[in-house]
Symmetry: C2
Subunit: 491 residues, 2 copies
């Protein structure tokens, strides 16, 4: 889609549809255009070379701007940046509306000026609900090629942002390859790398953390998870819990505070952190280090105490022009989900909420992509802006490529269900196109309109593999004589 | 659990737990008792012979009662039947409360006097949310041994009732084997067999349907889905829809009405149907023949018109002492779920609601166990009494054994999440036991407390297969140095 300047062209995907057969002959169906996160990886004409990296779509726009200016700063000054226009075209929103949302902190565009490869996207309660996928190597596994493959896999299935949670060897190098080849914003948790450098949590320090922040900022990371809301006074509250502290960053910060009998440097140095972030226009994702790890601990004093601190930090970040998102639970029973959303909205002045699920029951390990999608869809409907996916391996082990695919598609479905329930403009177009194809037995269109066409096709073909069955007025579920849709059409 | 008479012993499952290691030595954890649907199939001491059938637990109770008396009739007369007491013990409710719920039609115990093998269970808004699994052969597949295996599989994974939707050969014989070996209530849709006999929808007739009803009633079917709510006046309303009529029963009835230019015999003969049902104490599941088949058609005039008719039929059935449940959608966007529950409650005088999902977005074929679990968990929380499972093959083909397992476990999780959100007494005990085991790295307990212990164990063992890792204070997800729960425990 062309924008207002020649170097602004918004990527989208078009799904071709076959004609509807009618008594009067075939009636064509227009193609359906859908939001696409795949960047060049879903462009059949793109020439790809990971060693060179992908196209730097934002390079000319960044070159026109001074360092230290942020999307939020421009928005407050009334400027519609090319990034805002891109997002508006992508989402079907008015550019001025996007600008206003960013100015008041209700939406963010995570876009480090050192990551020109990223296609602009927005996270906010009036945008489509987004999905984040976590990847990253661990001391036990995988190198650069595997992580790059996971990235491509993730954006192809629809991840809107990707967090690189690497903790093993070659963290810096892995991140460099990811950034130079990522069409979506990349997030990290800098304290992981700082801890790799320090060895033990108690040996962490502000200079070491600051150095790590700058190292990652220079590379182009678009948003940082920073657990600055874990204050000393909150830590004893977590002792009463069934499952203590289940955030890696939160547990590390708590350990540091305990060892030093001091407030964490993340909280103490928050303004200095913001100065660094503003310089690169990095978004801060305020980590929920005290999120509940089971439904019993949901909405407790530790979680709510931290949330209030996150609200205070939001205002401090905004004072520096730094864009903010707020991380949220975790594990929440369904009856508390709407209240969790309302509490965040109030405590954090409508800064976008970014939740991990939440999981709504603890009794289904192996199925936690599902128990969490139940919570994610609901909290998305109530206004959460981005959902961090959970894979079937949650609580049990490191996900493999197939788990990543299952996790992302599950979350794309949950996010889309939230868009539909919110009445987001145009959200239902894909549902309706697919339902129409289903009713007209256009099986190829049915598959192509699905979030995971390959799986839909494979499931269908398990019992009816022949090409002729792609035209059949039934499937093996009810069989030819009992196909309700076929009987209905005869009426 | 022993009841008030020697022949009343309620089945339950006990999960042994290992001790917690403390500084002062091991501290034992009491076993956790959970609701069990497996009947003799989960009893290691049971001698099983499908040719003889399982124990006829209800035989002595039925022998004490006259034919034509129903649980509803007894309840209205103030009698607490052994079935009501069984249900009360199983659910942790007061027997008098169960009786009162049944008397006013807010709960049902589907239990044909010709199915003494079934362990009593209740469906109602103040009981645990139940899950139904559909099985059944089709013209394309599977004989008696396969269907029996699916039944055992279904109850083992937790199906509270099973519907036999067979449409192919040997319907009568298959059903006989299922009934004689089923510890859970069996439901059917009698019009399927009637259609097999008739050949074409227009050749269906009241005598043929009546004969089929009695044939199945004699065998012991516990509840019948009957699409008596599809009235002639509703059928034109479905023409405006994106996906017309998607209920098999509904499309058959609509076809008959159109061919005969008449009101269906199911509606016209409803009182005669009720007389048959009362004789055996069969529950009627009022089918939603006009349920929406896509989110665009949700809550439309056809659906709501039929729902009002179901309310009228509910009162007619109750006048005969026949227990009633109401089938519901299907496909509903999240923002309409609570209203759908409220509409049913009002139109059908609080008769238990029994929904198929609902699916909350149409764009994820291959993942519809998930898109529907999102809706199912929510509508269960709002008061739906039983959830009909959906498998990953929905809309695409006949499920296989693994799809059945995935569908049931997914729905058990959704139903349990609803119980937790409703604050059902004791519902959270299993969540808390599992979370505690998780936090204390009692991996075997963690797996054993899961809804699907085999899958949880397999996922864990994919990366850490050694026995020693079952004691490890980490898993491969965050790895030994970054395990948040391990760091938290050091605090
Ligand atoms: S056979 Fe059943 S599931 Fe398959 S297309 Fe027809 S109505 Fe849909
Ligand atoms: S490594 Fe992570 S997922 Fe595994 S037990 Fe520890 S905190 Fe839980």
């Amino acid at each position: 889609m062309p924008g207002s300047r020649p170097d602004l062209r918004v990527a989208a995907r078009e799904i071709d549809l076959s004609p509807t057969e009618t008594a009067g002959g075939p009636r064509p169906n227009p193609p359906l255009q859908v939001y696409d996160t795949g960047g060049p990886y879903t462009d059949p004409d793109a020439a790809l070379d990971p060693a060179r990296g992908i196209t730097r779509v934002r390079a000319p726009w960044i070159a026109e701007r001074a360092a230290g200016t942020t999307q939020m700063g421009h928005a407050r000054a009334g400027v519609i940046t090319p990034e805002m226009e891109y997002v508006a075209l992508r989402e079907g929103l008015e550019p001025a509306f996007v600008r206003d949302e960013i100015a008041r902190g209700r939406a963010v565009i995570p876009a480090n000026r050192h990551h020109p490869e990223a296609e602009p996207m927005a996270i906010g309660r009036h945008c489509k609900v987004k999905v984040n996928a976590n990847i990253g190597n661990s001391p036990l596994s995988s190198g650069v090629p595997e992580e790059l493959e996971k990235l491509v896999h993730a954006v192809r299935w629809g991840a809107d942002t990707v967090m690189d949670l690497s903790t093993g060897e070659a963290i810096h190098e892995t991140r460099e390859w990811l950034l130079r080849n990522s069409p979506v914003p990349i997030g990290t948790v800098p304290i992981y790398q700082a801890l790799e450098k320090a060895g033990e949590p108690e040996d962490l320090s502000w200079p070491l953390f600051r150095e790590t922040l700058i190292e990652q900022a220079e590379q182009g990371v678009d948003y940082f998870t920073i657990h600055a809301g874990v204050r000393r006074e909150h830590i004893p509250l977590a002792r009463e819990r069934l499952t203590g502290i289940v955030s890696r960053g939160g547990s590390i910060v708590a350990k540091w505070c305990q060892a030093h009998q001091a407030e964490s440097f993340l909280y103490e140095r928050f303004d200095e952190i913001c100065e660094i972030l503003a310089h690169y226009d990095i978004t801060v994702s305020l980590g929920d280090g005290l999120r509940p790890g089971c439904v019993a601990d949901a909405s407790d004093a530790a979680q709510m105490g931290e949330l209030r601190t996150l609200g205070e930090l939001t205002e401090r970040a905004w004072a520096h022009g730094v864009q903010v998102i707020i991380e949220g639970p975790g594990h929440v029973p369904m009856d508390q989900i709407e209240a969790n959303m309302a509490a965040e909205r109030e405590a954090c002045h409508e800064a976008p909420f970014y939740t991990l699920g939440p999981i709504v029951t603890d009794i289904a390990p192996g199925y936690d992509h599902i128990t969490s999608a139940i919570g994610a869809a609901q909290i998305g409907w109530h206004g959460t802006a981005m959902l961090c996916y959970v894979t079937p391996k949650e609580h049990l082990g490191l996900p493999n490529a197939d788990d990543v695919r299952t996790g992302i598609v599950t979350y794309k479905a949950a996010a889309h269900a939230a868009d539909v329930a919110r009445g987001h403009p145009g959200a239902r177009a894909r549902d309706d196109a697919l339902s129409r194809a289903r009713y007209e037995f256009r099986w190829q269109d049915h598959f192509n309109l699905a979030l995971d066409p390959e799986r839909a096709r494979a499931y269908h073909d398990e019992t009816l593999p022949r090409e002729a069955h792609k035209e059949a007025a039934f499937c093996s579920m009810c069989g030819p004589r009992f196909c309700a849709m076929a009987i209905s059409q005869e009426l």
